[in-house]
């Protein structure tokens, strides 16, 4: 009855040990736990003698029971909370390094300003969070709600001397701010589009080529009231080629002798029996004819060969290769090539 303090303590300890006996497992080496993955690794050597002595399954089951008990002990140590009437334990982050499924995403490309800053060597200047506002005599944030030196909240705006007295300066400020915001937004979207390599609207698609620009410039020059006569030229720009009359007619009353000579020659040519021949023109024509003949022969030969080659096996494998479709029919290909040749 008169139990001493020590006896009571010993008894309490024994009771505790009894309680914990059911969940305590003795192992030589501690297990390694990765609770994020509900994983436990047992490094202890498996007792081969026991394994062979007992039935395999029983041994494995006992081993599994011990290891699971240890893992569960660890899990029950995690902080738990009640979520919708259910006890839930919060798991830590998984610690095992497993390979990724897909490669790491590439960092986004630098914006126009970042490229320019890098080129010029401009460093980012760290700015303080708060700025002293003289008007309110306190420290206020640099930008945002209740910022320092906010010029949109001015109750008095002086009209500058050069401005129109009827202009609304407040509206002008508000309008300028809206424009700045819109411009910023546009630039931000353009940076994003460039990063994702999307087509920026109204950029390269509309840009004309060099020739088109030159033609447009010529036409613009001549489209004045004086038909381009008084248009100034750039210092190194060459004078335009003769854009005057397309056909030069001889004057009605000119050199009588040359006119007489021409008329007499004309009569001679009409009266003569021999045909007139321009040698250069004739030679050129002949050459062109020969070229065309050679080209057509080539095409004919290739077409015929194709047809010959295609027709023989086609007859055999008609049934089998129907689904796959062996090559284009020869007639079509010939037509296509002919068109190209003409061009």
């Amino acid at each position: 009855m008169a139990a001493t303090v020590e006896e009571l303590l010993a008894k309490a300890e024994k009771d505790e040990a009894e309680k914990l006996k059911s969940i305590r497992v003795k192992k030589e080496l501690e297990l390694e736990f990765d609770l994020g993955n509900l994983l436990a690794s047992d490094r202890n050597a498996v007792n081969l003698r026991d394994f062979r002595a007992q039935k395999k399954e029983d041994y494995l089951r006992a081993l599994a029971r011990d290891n699971t008990q240890l893992l569960v002990n660890e899990l029950w140590k995690m902080p738990s909370e009640r979520v919708e009437g259910v006890v839930v334990a919060k798991l830590p982050e998984p610690t095992t390094r497993l390979p990724r499924e897909k490669p790491v995403p590439k960092p986004r490309p630098p914006t126009k300003w970042e490229q320019f800053a890098k080129l010029k060597g401009i460093q980012k200047k760290k700015k303080t969070n708060l700025v002293w506002d003289e008007a309110h005599k306190e420290w206020r944030r640099r930008w945002g709600y209740k910022r320092a030196n906010d010029n949109t909240k001015d109750w008095l705006v002086e009209v500058p001397e050069t401005a129109d007295p009827d202009e609304d300066q407040f509206a002008k400020r508000a309008h300028a701010k809206r424009e700045r915001v819109a411009k910023n937004e546009l630039n931000r979207l353009r940076n994003i589009a460039r990063a994702h390599k999307l087509k920026v609207p109204g950029a390269a698609a509309a840009a004309p080529s060099r020739n088109e620009l030159a033609r447009a410039e010529q036409v613009a020059k001549v489209s004045t009231a004086s038909v381009g006569k008084f248009q100034e030229r750039l210092p190194k720009e060459k004078a335009p080629r003769n854009r005057g009359k397309k056909r030069a007619f001889q004057p009605n009353i000119g050199d009588f002798s040359t006119e007489r000579q021409q008329q007499l020659e004309l009569l001679k040519v009409i009266a003569s029996k021999k045909p007139r021949m321009d040698v250069t023109k004739a030679v050129n024509k002949q050459m062109r004819e020969e070229d065309m003949e050679a080209a057509s022969k080539k095409r004919k030969g290739a077409g015929r060969k194709g047809r010959k080659g295609g027709s023989a096996p086609r007859g055999k494998a008609k049934g089998k290769a129907k689904a796959k479709g062996q090559g284009p029919p020869a007639g079509k290909s010939r037509q296509v090539r002919k068109g190209l040749g003409k061009r």
Binding site: E18, K19, L20, S22, I23, G36, N37, L38, L39, A40, S41, D42, R43, N44, A45, V46, L48, F51, K56, E57, L60, R61, L63, A64, R65, N67, T68, Q69, L71, V72, N73, L75, W76, S80, E81, V83, V86, V87, V88, A89, K90, L91, P94, T96, R97, L98, P99, R100, E101, K102, P103, V104, P105
Partner: protein, 251 residues
């Protein structure tokens, strides 16, 4: 059908260890990075190839032969629900010493771990997969967890085999080269553990912190009131001496 697996019904003649293009094609089409290929021929009977991909190219492939197999239907017992996150346990020194076994463990974890969850329902931990590496063989056993009452909060565990159970033997392996493995394990900058500012650890392992304070007016500092240290009227040098002596003691 499970949301996370894609089962091919028809038989495809592929040899994973020779030609990986068809595997990579299927992986790309189904957007799956883990694959399991089963085959049976005279040279390699009852063959399973566990594999995983990185960027739809084969990273690791491990071939296991099944020596003994007991299916789910052979073991008559109530099973646990499909899709429960299983507890994974690896036993045996081989899983820590042998490089091939280490990769095998990593592949098994990838295959069987299920979704990553921030919290887990304690009563719902029903499924245990136990891998034992022993004498060149790998034993895979699957148990159902029964939580029994113990004296304290943590329950006592009893296991009931539900199957399937496998006795594997390690055959061929195709492991990724070191640098490919390194690229695959790379963490993007965002996921790297962030360094906490103003916290340092000294050589003894103690954690030290830095506090940033505004300037204090030491003359007007409010400390604890110690009535005994207050100056009493009338007491001059003697009192001060007493006080200073007292102060020393208190310190």
């Amino acid at each position: 059908m499970n949301l996370f697996t894609f089962c091919f019904i028809r038989k495809n003649i592929t040899r994973p260890f020779e030609d990986q293009t068809s595997l990579e094609f299927f992986s790309k089409k189904t957007d799956c990075s883990l694959f399991l290929f089963g085959s049976h021929n005279k040279k390699r009977p009852n063959n399973l190839v566990f594999g995983r991909m990185f960027d739809f190219h084969v990273l690791d492939m491990i071939e296991l032969g099944i020596e003994k197999f007991v299916s789910l239907s052979d073991i008559k017992s109530p099973k646990c629900a499909e899709g429960t996150k299983p507890l994974l346990i690896f036993a045996g020194e081989a899983f820590d010493t042998d490089s091939e076994y280490k990769r095998l463990r990593s592949v098994f974890i990838d295959f069987f771990r299920g979704q990553t969850v921030p919290a887990v329902r304690l009563a719902g931990l029903e499924h245990v997969l136990h891998f034992t590496a022993l004498e060149g063989k790998i034993y895979l056993r699957s148990y159902k967890v029964l939580l029994k009452k113990s004296g304290c909060r943590t329950p006592r565990i009893e296991l009931e085999e539900i199957g399937p159970s496998f006795d594997f033997v390690l055959r061929r392996t195709h492991l990724a080269s070191d640098d490919l493995s390194k690229t695959a394990h790379k963490l993007p900058k965002a996921l790297k553990p962030k360094k906490k500012k103003n916290i340092s650890h000294d050589t003894f392992g103690t954690k030290l912190g830095r506090l940033h304070m505004q300037k204090q007016n030491l003359a007007k500092l409010k400390t604890r009131k110690m009535k005994g240290l207050r100056k009493r009227r009338g007491e001059t040098i003697q009192g001060e001496e007493e006080d200073s002596a007292k102060k020393a003691k208190v310190e």
